[in-house]
Amino acid sequence: MTNKVLIADDEAPIVNLLRATLGEDRYHLLVARDGDEALAIARREKPDLVFLDILMPKVDGFKVCQALKADPATAHIRIVMLTALAQESDRQKATNVGADDYLTKPFSPTELLEKVEEILHGSA
C-alpha cells in the first residue's frame, strides 16, 4: 500500500524537487499550489503526510495546519512544515499549531527521505 503524500507549495522548483526526491513510484503524490487547495485536497484525499509551505497564497501554512489538526477527520494527518523562514519563533509557532515536524529550506533530499520514512513507518 503506497502512502499518500500532499505537497503544498507555490514554488514550482520546490514541488519538482520533492517529486524527484520522493519518487512517483514509491508514493502517491498530490500537489497543492495554495492554502485553500491544500485544505481541499487534504480533506478529500486524507493523505498520510503533508509537506506544508508556510508562505503560500490565500491561506498560509500555519492556518492550514491549524485547521487540519482541529478537524477530527484530518487531525491524524502528519504534517511537516516546510519553509524558508528560519527563525525560532516560526519553529515555535509551527509546534503550537500542531505540526509534527519542521524542515527549513534549503534541505537535503536524503534527510527529507529519512524524515518521511521515520514519520510514516516509524509510527506505523
Binding site: 524537487l17 524527484a20 524558508a84 523562514l85 529550506k105 534549503p106 533530499p109
Partner: protein, 738 residues
Amino acid sequence: MGDAGNEPKKPTLLSQRYVAIGAMLLVGVALSLVSFFLLRSWERDRAQGEFRERAAVRAAALGRAADRGIEVVASIRGLFDASIEVERHEFAAFTRSALAAHPEIEALEWIPRVPQKQISAYVAAARADGHDAFQITEQDPSGLLVPASNRPEYFPVFFVEPLKRNEVALGFDLGSDALRRRALEEARDTGKPTATAPVRIVQETEGQLSFLVFVPVYEKLKPLDSVEQRRWHLQGFAIGVFRVNELVEASFQGQRPGPMSLRFYDTTDRDNELLMYAFEPDSGPMSGLVTGEGRANPRSGSQWETVLAVGERRWALVFEPIGGSNGWVPWLPWAVLAAGFALIGVAGTYGYGLVSRTAQVEQLVVQRTEALEASNRKLRESESSTRAVLMSMTEGLAVFTQDGRVLWWNDAVAMLTGLPEREAVGRHIDDVMRMKAPDLENSEALSVLRGTLLEGVEAKDPLYITILRPERRELSVRVFHIDLGSGHVLPGVVIRDITGEREMDRRKDAFVSVASHELRTPMTAILGFTELLLKREVAPERRQAWLQEVYQESRRLTTIVDDLLNVSRIHSGKLQLRREQVSVAHVVEAVVGTFKPTTDQHQFIAAVSGDVPAVWADRDKVGQVLMNLLGNAIKYSPQGGKVSVAARHDPERRRVVVSVADEGIGIAPDDQQDLFTSFHRIRPPETDGIRGTGLGLYIVKALVELMQGEVWVESEPGKGSTFYFTLPTDYDEFGGGG
C-alpha cells in the same frame, strides 16, 4: 522699554525736590525773620513799657517830693497864724526839724511886707536880734548886692534858716527882682503856694538852679475872698528855697534812676521853656549849668514825657532811655534770628544732602533696573529661543509639576494627544491619561508611566506606547526628572515617535525575510537537485530535466541578487546616474531584442515614432526599467499575447512618455496602489507558478524617479495592463533633480 520717556522725567522729579527744599528754606527764613521782628518788637515794647513805668515812678516821686517841700513851707504860715508875734528864735526852732527832715530845702525864710516908712524899725529889730550889718539890699545888674533903692514897699528876707549858709540873703528884697516878684505877686493874689521860675539864688555858691516857693501869710481874721482883700491884708510870705538837684536826689531816695536820662523844663511860659535839670547816668546831674537852654531834641523816639504841677508852675519831665536802648535785650531777637538761620542752614544742608543722596540712590536704582531689564531681556530672549526650539522639536517634550500637573508641553505632544498646550497646562497627568486611555493599544503602559513620573520609579529603558487614534503611532517614552534642588523635582517626558523607525524595522525584517525566502527557494532547488544527481543513478532524460532545474534556478538566483543589490543601492542612495542623451527608440529596440530569443510565444510590437526626441537619462537604467516592465508583461500575459512598447512626445510637459502594454491578467484597482512598493507581490490565483522577487516594480519606480520621471499603471483585470513612465527632454530638468 521707554528710555526716551524716562529722560525728561528724572530731572523734573529731582528739581521738584530741590524746589521743595528751597521752598522749605524760604519758609524757614521767613519764619525766622518774622520771629526776629516780632520778638524785637515785643522786646522793644516790653522795654519801652518797663522804661515808662520806671519813668512814671520817678516822676511821681519827684512830684511827691516837691509837694512835701511845699507843705513844709505852708506849715510856716500856720506858725504865723497861731502867734501874735513870731520871734527870730521861735522861727529857727520851728523850722529846725523840718529842715533836718528835708535836705532838699535849702532854706526856709520869712519875708515880711515892709512899707517904706517901717524900714528903719525892721532894720533896728534885725540888728537887735544880732544881725549888726542888716540892711535891705537888691542886686545890681552885675549881680552884686547893693542897698535897695526907694520903693513904696519892700519884701526883705527877715528870718532865714539855716542861717549859717544863707546869711548873705538876709535883707535881700525879693520884690526887687522881676522873676521873684512875679511869683510873689501871684502868690499874694491867689493865696496859693507859688513857685518861681528857676533862679540862681543869691546865696548860691555852686552855680545851681533853685526855685522859691512863696506861701502868702495874711493878717489874722480878715476876709480874703477877693484879690483886693488879699492884697490889702497881706502880711508877708513864708518862703522855701529848693535846690533842684537836691530835690531830685531826695525824690530818688538814694536810688539810681537806672539807664535813663532825665531832663525837666519849666514850661509855664510856653515861649520860654527853661531847662531846670538834666541827669545823665554817665555824668550825673547837672542842674543849672544849662540855664535858659531850650528844649533839647530827643535823641530817640522812645523818650517819655510827663507834666508836673508844682506851686502853680508846670514842669515837663522828659525821660529818655540811654543809648537808644531803653533797657531791652537787643541781642535776643538777633540770637533767635541767628539760631533760626543756623537751623535752616543745617536743615537745608541735610535736606540737600538727603535729596542728593536720594537722587543718587534713584539713579542707582534706575541703572540697576536697566541692567536687570537688560539681563532679563537677554534671559527672555534666550528663554524664548530655547522655548521655540523645544516647542518645535519633532520629539515630544512635556514637563510636569511635582504633583503631576502639566507645566508645559510642546507642539509634538499637542499633536500626539490632540490637546493644545494652552488647554493642557494645569491639567493633572491622570486627567490626561483618562482622556487618552481609550486611544491606546495597551493602557497598562500608562500606569507604568505614571509610576515612573510621579513616584520616581527609576526607568532606564524607554516605555513603548502605541496610540491608535487619530492614527496609529508608536511612541517611545523616556522619563526624566529635573532636580531643582532641596527636594524639588520636576518630572518630564521625552516622547519620540518611532512609528517610522518601527516601519523601517518591519520593512527591513520583511526584506530580510523575503530575501531569505526568495533566495532559499532557488538555493533549495539547486542544492536538492545537485544532491540527487550526485547520489542517484538516473535515466539521462531525467538527469537532463534536473540539470535544467539547476540552471534555471541559478539564473533566477543571479537575477534576485542583482535586484537586491539594486534595491540596496537605491536605499543607500549610492546609485550613480550618468547624464546622457538617450534615444528611446534605440533602447526599446535593444531590450526587445534580448527578450525575443527567450520566448517565442509572445508577440512584440515596438512603436516609437521618429519624431520622439532624445531624453536626458542614464541609458543603462532606462534599459533596466524596460527589461523589468517587459519581463512582467511577458510573465503575466498568456502565451501568444501581444506586448506593445510605445513612446510619444509630450512637448507641453517636455517629456517623453513610454508605455508597455500587455493583454494579461490585469491588476485589480485595490492592488494597484501598493504595486510599486518593495516586496509587494500580488498573487491572485492566476499568477500560480509565476515567480518574482517583488522587487521589479519597486526598482522601476525608484529608477524613473531618480531620472526625474513618473511611473503609473492603467489596468483592467482580465484585459491587461499598461505601465507608463516619463523621461525629461530638457537637460536642466534632469540635472536639476540631481
